[in-house]
């Protein structure tokens, strides 16, 4: 469905020296800088698959999505989506894709949502019965029936995002790009949108690429991730594999039946060979080496009167951040993690 080969993109940006003198100077002598946003990106995403695109700000995630959607041209390399070259922007291609941008409204602000959807029905030439069926399903799933006749600009951020989702999926695209679909939303709205994406995927099996800074989005939605760093894919594979390889620790949370005195606890925990990451009188959270989890848990149960004990994986965000931070080697070449 989505296939890229050695995709690269270089932007030419204006370099401006700070201050008034710099502004005046740039009027006569402008300095330009070539910024390589993507380097030799090769990817494949199949039908029904969701690929999570993970990376720091400015790593090149959005640039990649914009190229795949046919919004911007690459400097080199090739892309084939459903057999189409995205930059030819054929109507046949555009009727089969969708790009949902959490940071950019696509609907017409002055119109009520329902009018926007009617306009999209004409734009995508959706047959009336299919339009009616799709709209009913999407509106029902996202719970926005009462907001359909309200101008888009008068909706809350969460409601607007749900409307954006409806607008993007009305024509049942076979390829969907999500660029930070839950950004700025409260937890309830985030959860609703995640559940909806999963349900939609089960029903229609589109190829999806999702970028997000919220690790919960990635954890819940993407069994496979691609980590992008300085425009280069440094990892492309299972999310679980990243966790197993890079999460050297697990988090042990313990709730005590009785209060543990502050004087006694540091010594006791140090003896367990665990790092205390949070502690108050009745609870403690310990960072424990993966290999020692069972042993430390056993010792805790022996030494303290434990009310509750749980073992969690290290925060996926921290693991990926660690991976992203693995820097260049001595020669300046980017280190590709070996998993």
């Amino acid at each position: 469905m989505i296939q890229t080969q050695n995709l690269s993109k270089t932007f030419r940006v204006h370099k401006k020296v700070a201050g008034l003198a710099g502004s005046v100077k740039s009027l006569f002598n402008r300095q330009w800088l070539d910024k390589q946003a993507l380097r030799d990106v090769t990817l494949h995403v199949g039908s029904g698959e969701i690929l999570g695109l993970v990376g720091a700000n400015g790593a090149g995630k959005t640039t990649l999505v914009k190229i795949l959607a046919g919004v911007i041209h690459p400097s080199s390399g090739s892309v084939s989506i459903l057999g189409h070259n995205p930059w030819s922007r054929s109507n046949d291609f555009r009727r089969q894709i969708s790009l949902i941008m959490g940071q950019k409204a696509q609907l017409w602000w002055d119109l009520p949502a329902e009018d926007c959807f009617l306009l999209l029905r004409e734009i995508y030439q959706i047959p009336h019965p299919q339009y009616k069926q799709n709209l009913e399903y999407l509106v029902e799933s996202l719970g926005v029936k009462d907001q359909l006749n309200i101008q888009i600009r008068r909706l809350s951020l969460g409601e607007r995002m749900k409307m954006e989702l409806i607008a993007a999926l009305l024509h049942t695209p076979r390829v969907v790009f999500f660029d930070e679909p839950t950004i700025g939303l409260d937890l309830t709205a985030q959860r609703a949108i995640r559940n909806f994406i999963l349900e939609y995927r089960k029903l229609h099996k589109p190829a999806m690429i999702l970028t997000s800074h919220y690790m919960e989005d990635i954890e819940r939605l993407c069994p496979r991730i691609a980590i992008i760093k300085d425009g280069q894919i440094v990892y492309d594979g299972d999310l679980a594999r990243v966790v197993n390889t890079y999460a050297n620790h697990k988090i042990l949370s313990v709730e005590f039946e009785t209060e543990v005195s502050p004087a006694q606890s540091p010594k006791a925990f140090a003896a367990l060979n665990a790092e205390v990451i949070f502690q108050d009188s009745s609870t403690v959270r310990l960072k424990v080496a993966r290999t020692a989890v069972a042993q430390v848990a056993g010792q805790m149960l022996q030494q303290f009167r434990v009310k509750d004990l749980s073992i969690e994986e290290e925060d996926i965000g921290n693991i990926i951040e660690k991976l992203i931070r693995r820097d260049k080697d001595v020669s300046g070449k980017i280190v590709t993690p070996k998993l």
């Binding site: 959607a69 790009l99 940071q103 017409w108 002055d110 119109l111 004409e122 734009i123 030439q125």
Partner: protein, 275 residues
């Protein structure tokens, strides 16, 4: 092309949904323009007008009596609004702030989207202008030397609509420059000023020195202002109407291809900022 109609209807609805703006746009901009012109021409006629050709007739400037000059100003304001359409630099701001992205994703032509918007805008303008003309004529009457006819109105309005297509293409080309530079505001204002001046929307071209007037007539501008106004004033014929429209169409065709070329080149520079 049903999406075109839907887009047209959406723009039409949008304009009517802002009632205050709808009326202000008409009354404030047109009324101010007419008032300024009234006082300006009154002062000019008081100081420089030559006596009428026939003894006892009203004094004239450039072949216009004061009353006819005011009528020229009224038609220049009304016809000019139709020709110039919506000059809000929508395309330039779409390019600048990334609003263009959604239209690149939709299976429609961005140019046609803007054309439908322009047509909707023009339709509303014609409604507003028609109402305005009726009110004005009802309150102030018409100069005795002017013979109102629906034929003249039809001739002038249709020539203005053809001219608006030319102006649209010119304006789009200027907006597309936003693919290369961050702001085109001054360029756009300069174009507006030059186009209005050379087309006779500020002052009749009859007042230009003959050599300058001949030079100006080598450009398309008189055919988007002065000539349609003459049609409204009943100083034109159907053959002149055909000549005006044909001239404008012949200018529009190469500009259309230039516009397409600029679009294709510009898109390669588009970075879709804001997402």
């Amino acid at each position: 092309m049903t999406w075109f109609n839907a887009m047209f209807a959406a723009e039409f609805k949008r304009m009517f949904s802002y009632r205050v703006d709808f009326w202000l746009q008409f009354f404030v901009s047109v009324a101010v323009e007419l008032m300024v012109s009234y006082f300006l021409w009154e002062a000019l006629f008081a100081s420089t007008a030559t006596p009428g050709v026939v003894p006892g007739h009203a004094p004239e400037i450039g072949g216009y009596t004061f009353q006819m000059m005011l009528l020229y100003v009224v038609f220049a304001a009304f016809g000019g609004r139709i020709v110039r359409g919506n000059e809000r630099m929508i395309i330039a701001s779409d390019i600048y702030d990334g609003g263009l992205t959604k239209y690149l994703l939709y299976p429609v032509s961005y140019l046609m989207v803007n054309f439908s918007r322009a047509l909707a805008y023009n339709s509303v303008t014609i409604i507003q202008m028609g109402m305005g003309l009726l009110l004005l004529f009802a309150f102030y009457g018409l100069p005795p030397e002017y013979n109102f006819s629906f034929e003249n109105m039809l001739m002038g309005t249709s020539a203005c609509l053809v001219a608006s297509a030319f102006y649209f293409v010119m304006y789009v080309i200027i907006d597309y420059i936003a693919f290369w530079v961050d702001t085109i505001w001054s360029l756009s204002v300069m174009f507006r000023f030059i186009a209005q001046f050379l087309s006779g929307l500020f002052i009749p071209l009859e007042m230009f020195p003959p050599a300058v007037r001949r030079a100006v007539y080598q450009t398309p501008f008189p055919y988007i202002g002065s000539e349609p106004i003459k049609m409204f004033l009943g100083r034109s014929s159907w053959s002149q109407w055909a000549h005006t429209n044909l001239t404008i169409i012949l200018w529009t065709i190469p500009l259309f291809f230039l516009m397409q070329l600029v679009w294709r080149r510009g898109l390669k520079n588009y970075t879709g900022v804001g997402i």
